[in-house]
């Protein structure tokens, strides 16, 4: 009898302890999420809402900017995430070499972009890559190009610019995860492989990469989410231009809410597209990783 009462008391105490955080999460997380779900079925201009059923979803299928934004976001994802993660992995294993001099310096240097503010570095990239910016001047002085590249007014180069910018900003961040995980790989595995005559590249692909699989999965999920939410860079460097060539879903949501005639309902619908996209892609990544570990 007393045991049950004790258990119940403990349960109540437990709930009391977590009550503040549950309450806060409820107010600031669950409520807005549910509210935005409700909003995504509303139509109307500005503060005049009315229930529109599936109108917004039908609008998605006919909206050319939404389709461009979705395509651009996927292009950024497909090119940028693999490039960045491969670079981060290679850098991490290079910087993990105990014989390398100035390791600390290189690690800091590569991680440093990550502590800069997104807006500040975007502004710098914008000025460096302007038509008469330092990048074009350098390339022309080296006779690699003879006409300045119109980084921000050519649809192709604008995409290249955005991909370069995010890669610069986030490679070091992902590298730190790999470096940390590499510390957990037993040196003796590499030694044994070396003695067996396994070449360096094979040691990388056959030992390092498989041992890092959980971390690679983690970084690819977080990078995917980050790219799907890409906003600061495109907003500050290209403003989505030229001709929507760097328009992303997040920037489009922003435009729908704050730049165009405000249509909060439709903007919520587009944000739920990101939610669904993140869920699907994360599931696919987990699924692929699980299959491979069985094989």
């Amino acid at each position: 009898m007393s045991g049950t009462r004790l258990a119940r008391n403990e349960q109540i105490n437990g709930w009391l302890f977590i009550a503040p955080s549950v309450l806060l999460i409820g107010i600031f997380l669950v409520y807005p999420i549910l509210w935005s779900l409700w909003m995504s079925f509303q139509v109307g201009k500005g503060m005049n809402f009315s229930f529109g059923g599936f109108t917004n979803i039908i609008r998605l299928t006919k909206d050319p900017i939404f389709q461009i934004a979705l395509t651009n976001t996927l292009i950024f994802l497909v090119f940028q995430v693999p490039i960045m993660l491969t670079l981060a992995l290679l850098l991490a294993s290079a910087l993990n070499d105990p014989k390398l001099k100035f390791r600390g310096f290189f690690r800091t240097a590569i991680f440093l972009p990550c502590v800069t503010s997104l807006v500040a570095y975007s502004a710098l990239f914008r000025s460096m890559f302007s038509n008469e910016g330092v990048v074009n001047k350098t390339l022309m002085a080296m006779h690699i190009i003879d006409q300045p590249i119109l980084w921000t007014s050519d649809p192709f180069w604008a995409k290249v610019l955005v991909i370069s910018a995010i890669t610069w900003r986030w490679t070091g961040y992902n590298m730190i995860f790999y470096l940390a995980a590499l510390q957990n790989i037993d040196r003796s595995i590499y030694e044994a492989a070396k003695i067996d005559g396994v070449p360096a590249w094979a040691r990388f692909t056959q030992i390092t990469v498989p041992m890092l699989k959980p971390v690679i999965l983690f970084t690819s999920v977080t990078s995917t989410i980050g790219t799907l939410q890409l906003f600061d860079e495109v907003f500050n460097i290209t403003e989505g231009g030229p001709a929507n060539a760097t328009m992303t879903l997040s920037l489009y949501i922003y435009n729908l809410t704050f730049r165009f005639m405000p249509s909060f309902g439709y903007a919520s619908t587009v944000s739920y597209v990101i939610v669904v996209g993140v869920a699907i892609l994360s599931f696919v990544q987990f699924y692929l990783a699980r299959e491979r570990s069985r094989a």
Binding site: I65, S153, G241, P242, N244
Partner: protein, 425 residues
């Protein structure tokens, strides 16, 4: 928004306002009016001049003028109005005419109606109608965006063109002149930022057309003026007469610094051009070129232009309205000062009787530029901007790279129409 939140908000708002008005009474007339505007060398400078003019008779009122980037200002305003948080809003805000109806219609009650408080019969009627919803007018109309072709007289002279050669020309002739100027001086005629659709807006209004019909429906597919405008712009983009730039700063730097020989834009650019006094006496102004073969085409148009609005949530709105009324709708001398200083071409008609409007300007090679603009402004075809100009601009910009690459204008127009149809629902 449900009723109870609104009710609460009003109650709290009333309480805050009551508190604030008691404060202002007890603090013995130390009122500060906060103003948001963009372009410090133009709107900001004009507002500063207005503050000085007002301070003479009202030393107890100070003005806090906050300069933003125009995009940032619009977004900050829209965010706060949408959130219903009025505490950080200014007392007076500058809004561009293209966006006025959007704000007035999306946020009913956010702006103070000035009908009955301002004598609108003294303002240019087109400016008044841009800020009118139903029976109420909300703005204190400010500047006209009457367009001109601002050119460097010295460079044009070197290429063999007199000021008269630039009067009443077509865009085709403009391109020929531009080629000649580059051949003789080695300098490009203009600079273009292809992420800015201003030139299309200039061309449309110069022939009395717009993206939308008077009833707000899109006017794209069978719009002969739009077709002519895009065709003309394609010619300009393919002629190589321009220096490509990106962003507003680079755009203005090119003509202000003397890199390119001319710019076609609103009269408000004078504030920027006069920023470089080294080129004083080397500038002239002509009407903009006109579209060829379009019915109703003129050499006169409008780009931008904006007006002052008082926020209904402002605790100092009476002081703000008094300030606007006394200076912006009552001080002829003030208008002369901002005309010469900033090229702020007001739409308060009595100001046109002042001396500055009638005299020649030495900066512009002693041309009677202000008299000219006074004439031109009368000839600008009137159009109704509607509430979706921003969206239409984006739809046009999306097609510019294809047009630049020589793509079909018909296809571009179809794509523009499709995008606008989607955006305006």
């Amino acid at each position: 928004m449900n009723m109870s939140t609104n009710g609460w908000r009003r109650l709290i708002g009333a309480a805050v306002m009551a508190g604030a008005s008691m404060l202002s009474v007890s603090a013995a007339l130390a009122t500060e009016i906060t103003v948001w505007c963009w372009a410090p060398e133009f709107n900001g400078a004009a507002m500063k001049a207005a503050a000085e003019a007002y301070a003479k008779s009202n030393p107890d009122v100070t003005l806090n003028i906050v300069d933003f980037d125009k995009g940032a200002l619009e977004q900050k305003l829209q965010t706060q109005l949408a959130a219903g948080i009025t505490t950080d809003l200014p007392d007076i805000v500058l809004i561009e005419d293209y966006g006025a109806q959007k704000y007035l219609q999306s946020f009913p009650g956010a702006f103070e109606s000035l009908t009955g408080k301002v004598d609108y019969s003294k303002f240019a009627p087109y400016k008044v109608s841009l800020a009118t919803v139903g029976d109420n007018t909300y703005s204190l109309p400010f500047d006209s965006g009457a367009t001109g072709l601002f050119y460097r007289t010295d460079l044009l002279d070197k290429a063999g063109f007199k000021p008269a050669d630039l009067e009443g020309i077509t865009w085709d002739r403009f391109i020929e002149i531009a080629k000649e100027v580059e051949a003789k001086t080695g300098q490009k005629m203009i600079d273009i930022d292809i992420n800015d659709a201003g030139v299309i807006r200039i061309m449309l209004q110069s022939a009395g057309s717009w993206y939308f019909n008077a009833d707000g429906s899109p006017n794209i597919v069978d719009n002969a003026v739009l077709k002519a405008a895009l065709t003309t712009y394609q010619k300009i983009l393919q002629s190589g007469i321009y220096k490509p730039v990106s962003g507003w700063n680079d755009y203005t730097a090119a003509f202000m610094g003397g890199e390119v020989a001319s710019v076609y834009t609103g009269v408000w650019i004078v504030g920027g051009i006069k920023g470089n006094q080294e080129l004083s006496g080397k500038w002239g102004v002509a009407p903009i070129p006109k579209l060829d073969g379009v019915e109703g085409a003129t050499n006169f148009s409008n780009l931008g232009g904006s007006s002052w609005y008082v926020l209904a949530s402002s605790p100092n709105k009476d002081a703000a309205i008094d300030f606007l009324n006394k200076v912006w709708a009552g001080d002829v001398d003030f208008y002369q000062k901002i005309l010469v200083g900033q090229g702020a071409f007001g739409t308060w008609m009595p100001a046109r009787e002042g001396d500055a409007y009638k005299s020649a300007d030495p900066f512009f090679s002693n041309q009677p530029v202000w008299q000219n603009f006074s004439d031109w402004v009368q000839k600008i075809p009137g159009v109704n901007y509607g509430i979706f100009t921003n969206e239409a601009d984006q739809a046009v910009l999306a097609q510019i790279p294809a047009i630049q690459a020589g793509g079909s204008i018909e296809d571009a127009i179809k794509a523009i129409d499709a995008q606008i149809q989607q955006q305006i629902q």
